[in-house]
Symmetry: C2
Subunit: 249 residues, 2 copies
């Protein structure tokens, strides 16, 4: 793990890093010392580790909960090189969708393919970040919607360090089998008028989680229109299940 | 409006009253003065105005938000005499359900019938309570699940003083038309394993609300197993939409 820059703003320390081929960013409270909960976040499709929604969530997780937050670029996104195979499949899928084919299962299959790479990548990121003294072996949360849901469901199913997950804007097409292996608390975000994920598919994914505690929050609006008040709810959800971070010293 | 008793406990003043034939209870902060938001609550079927869930919610609305809260007995419930017609229909419905008939539409039709009586009753309650100096003409919220949803949907649709509503554990069978006239913010509670309300009917009712801001909270469990953390969410929802109550003096 190699840190390439460090800045701080409004009480949040931001360190860019690379772990092998993976570019990432770690946010922690300025002056943090000792173990604390860690939230791994995944950006949406076509975006990157410092997308505005990621940064906005991370800032509040750090300042209000004293958590550490880590986000990395998904293959083919952000600072990573174009992946020829993924690019070819995505281009083909778009052409098939333009020709009238149902886009949802195409996206789901694509995300399942990418997840075979990202699950071990993210596990390596957890290994490395949790070795840092000011992160340590605390409980882990996962946050990811849309692409971050498609990749997150198999990750949360595979990784026992994850103790709570916020997922959403995804469907059951490719994820139901992995979802049925998830038993940690899940907060699932659904947009009632999602133009990309059929409502029935999203409800079926919520239904598939084996978690005794899972809660579905559905709101009107399209795929990209998650209401701001859901971030407040996310903060409370993670605080309830991961605890508060330790102080800064 | 005639007050019949007054007690106070832990900062909450409780006054029992009758308004014509209607027995009710009003909770306000001890020493309250001046206008404040008012929440009208309706109990579930077979219960009454001081059922444990009503009292628990009211206590937190009063102590944490400085709201006034009013609840009355539904006809045939609590301190009200048995209503022969309602009793006959309920008995017939139970017999039809025991004989294998689908219970949900029978309940829905019954609630629609009772609502023709409760909507004007509750409007009269608002009129009377809002004349009190320490309640006044503030914004009104409505809270009701199960029977309180079946009766609440037509009430919220009819009463412009209601500015936000928490509803749930109900289906669209008899309520969809009234729901389509509701435009205020709604928080809708759905139990994923509800043995009394079919999931599709509950989702259809959520879908029917015309409110630009509506949010569905679904959790695992049966009809009577609403998780305790939803009360926290309800407090935040009403605070967001009704504002904080004024101080006590």
């Amino acid at each position: 793990m190699r840190f390439t820059s460090e800045t701080s703003l409004d009480g949040v320390s931001e360190r860019l890093f690379t772990l092998g081929e993976i570019p990432g960013v770690l946010w922690t409270p300025v002056g943090a010392a000792g173990a604390r909960p860690l939230v791994l976040m995944c950006h949406g499709g076509g975006r990157h580790k410092k997308a505005p929604d990621i940064v906005a969530h991370a800032s509040r997780f750090v300042t209000e909960c004293a958590f550490a937050v880590v986000a990395v670029d998904v293959p083919g996104h952000g600072d990573r090189p174009k992946e020829e195979e993924y690019h070819r499949i995505a281009t083909e899928n778009q052409a098939r969708a333009d020709a009238g084919e149902d886009l949802a299962p195409l996206i789901a299959n694509f995300q399942a393919l990418v997840a075979r790479q990202t699950v071990p990548e993210w596990q390596a990121v957890l290994d490395a970040v949790q070795e840092l003294e000011h992160v340590g072996p605390g409980p882990v949360g996962y946050w990811g919607v849309s692409l971050g849901c498609g990749l997150g469901v198999p990750f949360v199913a595979a990784e026992p360090r994850v103790r709570a997950a916020v997922l959403g804007l995804g469907g059951a097409s490719a994820s139901a089998e992995a979802a049925a292996r998830i038993t940690v608390p899940v907060e699932f975000l659904l947009q009632w008028d999602d133009e990309r994920v059929p409502r029935a598919q999203a409800l079926a994914l919520f239904d598939a989680f084996a978690s005794p505690e899972k809660t579905l929050h559905a709101n009107p609006g399209k795929h990209a229109e998650l209401p701001a008040f859901e971030l407040d709810s996310t903060l409370r959800f993670f605080t309830r299940h991961l605890g508060h971070g330790s102080g800064t010293s």
